[in-house]
Symmetry: D2
Subunit: 240 residues, 4 copies
């Protein structure tokens, strides 16, 4: 059974009653809940726990890590970011949600600013499937419609994705590469844009399905690693 | 005229007479020399200069930076790496040569270990062109043959390249993605594998041509930037 | 000087006065006109000319072919499609515009149905730049706005593009991969979505700039070709 | 259970006793045999059967088609190629082996010549894994070694693959993109280079594993399709 750790900074819920009303168990609690129903083994971890809840032991027992962060990005310690990056390169999957685009760990793995345009205007979003054969789009129709989301718009300052699965359309005139995948080392990464804290996005069944699919896809990482360093040839070679 | 800064750690030449005999003006001097002949404005910078020769002013006046490093990777200060990364994301081109694959700046921009297999056995390499329409392969035949190079072999722990231009074949049984490109922010990056310090690789006319082509390709970066942050919609929207 | 042949089926203009009013010299005439002003050598060819105006000689003297077709796709003879495909694989560039997505030549080079969603509703389109470093986006701001265009929407049944440069946003709720590139053989291909015959799209300066950029990018194809077939080894090998 | 049809032209085995000695049940029989052992439902079809064994009914009941052809490429009827292409675009997987690179169906789906360099010299090949996280490389070490194979060398005239999984190294000095994937329509395609008829390649356990993996990966195609054509907007739009 795939072991998922759902990490959430868990700050908005403590400071804003409107957010808490949508996510009484926190965003992490809500996500863990629907993952469990899908047969995954889901635990949670949050910013204000010791080591942000991401001890060596926790990460060693995590197949896929989900990351939701926003106002607390800077409070994540660099040594924990180092640890998470190391585990991704070893083969742990990573699902980065919404404002996690500017988390230290995502920027570390991308090498770019990961910046974008944004706007909070309660506007409609449509997420169009552009790669219908991809396992992450399994069970989804031609698009997902969200009555209200935060706008995230291009230019999104990321490396060229390995795969482009969802394109976001926003009522106010913008588009966004909303569902994208990357490989880094032995690990697989899925970034998925929806999920502003003040909307009930993680209660939407299609959004839940995509996150479940994303976890399953990221869990397929390899466990036996290439060797690096000095390597012997087929036979004696060279002309000196 | 494209302004190139050729950065070399310049350590092997000071410590090893055999290397100095091949590159009496340093690897940086040799590279700057053939770039100048190709009509480029080439300056040099080295590790042991103040700020490694990469002051704010130098970088502000550099269109493309070439990077050769090996034994001194750890001696490059993090604040200079930050500065170079910032300039790449702003649009400065970057050509990373040979053992620069494990330089701090390349690992920073890639997000992976950038590790590989290697062997020093004076063996033959063939660099095959797999993207003959690419400007970086202009003027090159079907392959470049080097009588002796250090073997660099897969698995090469890098993100999927945007473009794969050269594949390296080594006498002892290995292959390598030897010429690859990436975009990061507004900057373009070209990694090119040949150039071990104990072989006269940078005297080879085809290798010189590829580096000149690579500089020209990286110099095409854009100078006007997207805006990030809060963004106004087409018109009043939303339903709250 | 780059030699461009602008091919247009030239049927709508003959049948519909409203189209003729927008393009009194035909869509081909309008495109050739702004290419000439940009210093390119532009000729035209149309469906009802002998061999559709695409004789062996014409194609042999064409560096980049532009293709606009719609209601006459089926009237293009297969032997001419064979001829154009052969020239693209030899290195002629190809710019396919708007409804050319279902031309025989584009489908031939893609291998898919190239189908899509569409709607004629005089709606606004925004073309967002998602690859700001690409030469085809040179001189363009963050987006191009068209007051009215035909909607083209995903899913667009194409192979994964080599590069994604523009994403289209439509007022009615759709998105589209509107500016994309491919390499096929020695030839480069650029598909660009805007240009419905009943709107003055090819009079828009930004659209003109993108097409000029596209022609220049496609013209960079290589003229010396790889050898195929039986190939001799480095030296005697094998163990039989 | 995934339903596989193994198609082989089945000509070399009838004409050449040395080939028959290696594959007494034909190449198709050998491949079907190890697929069955892996729990797949494998049937066979050959060139000289009516409709080449690929009737509408057979294809309607095929999840993944494997293709081995060589001397008989031209004898495959175009209407059968049309039928297979249609099924791939609908979502049937396709595994193309070795000399199938110049089959009508592969060229049709690629749009290029699919040509390459080749040599029969009983030389050693090494297939290096360059994408260790890919499901098609599951269970394979860092490389597969074949004592003897036909050399296939670059330049391989194909579209840029969606994914590059294996790189081939040949004793005589060449490299090859030996394991590559594409998506076309709703179908997935895997091309795998080894398998010259005069070597016992399909008896090699690692080669068998890769083909089994490839079938499983291609079988993941989607069964519910996007709608194409005229599409209604969110609400009334437009300004005319």
């Amino acid at each position: 059974m795939t072991r998922v750790t759902v990490w959430n900074e868990f700050l908005h819920e403590k400071e804003d009653d409107a957010v808490l009303a949508i996510y009484p168990d926190g965003i992490h609690g809500q996500i863990a809940s629907f993952l469990e129903k899908a047969g995954l083994d889901a635990k949670t971890a949050t910013l204000e726990e010791p080591e942000h809840g991401l001890t060596e032991e926790v990460l060693a027992n995590t197949d896929v890590l989900i990351w939701w962060g926003h106002m607390g990005h800077d409070r994540v310690e660099d040594k924990i970011v180092d640890r998470v990056q190391k585990r991704v390169l070893e083969g742990m999957g990573l699902v980065v949600l919404h404002s996690g685009h500017m988390s230290k760990i995502f920027m570390r793995l991308m090498g770019t600013s990961c910046d974008l345009k944004w706007r909070e205007a309660n506007e409609r979003e449509r997420l169009w499937v552009v790669d219908p054969t991809h396992p992450i789009a399994k069970g989804i129709g031609e698009f997902i419609e969200l009555d209200e989301e935060e706008m995230y718009g291009e230019h999104f300052d990321i490396p060229t994705p390995d795969e482009l699965i969802f394109l976001g359309w926003f009522e106010g005139g913008e588009v966004f590469r909303s569902g994208i995948t990357y490989k880094r080392g032995n690990g697989r990464i899925f970034y998925f844009q929806p999920g502003h804290e003040s909307y009930p996005t993680y209660h939407h069944p299609d959004i839940q399905q995509v996150i479940i699919n994303g976890v399953n896809w990221c869990a397929e990482s390899r466990k036996n690693y290439p060797a690096y360093g000095n390597h012997q040839p087929l036979e004696k070679i060279g002309r000196k």
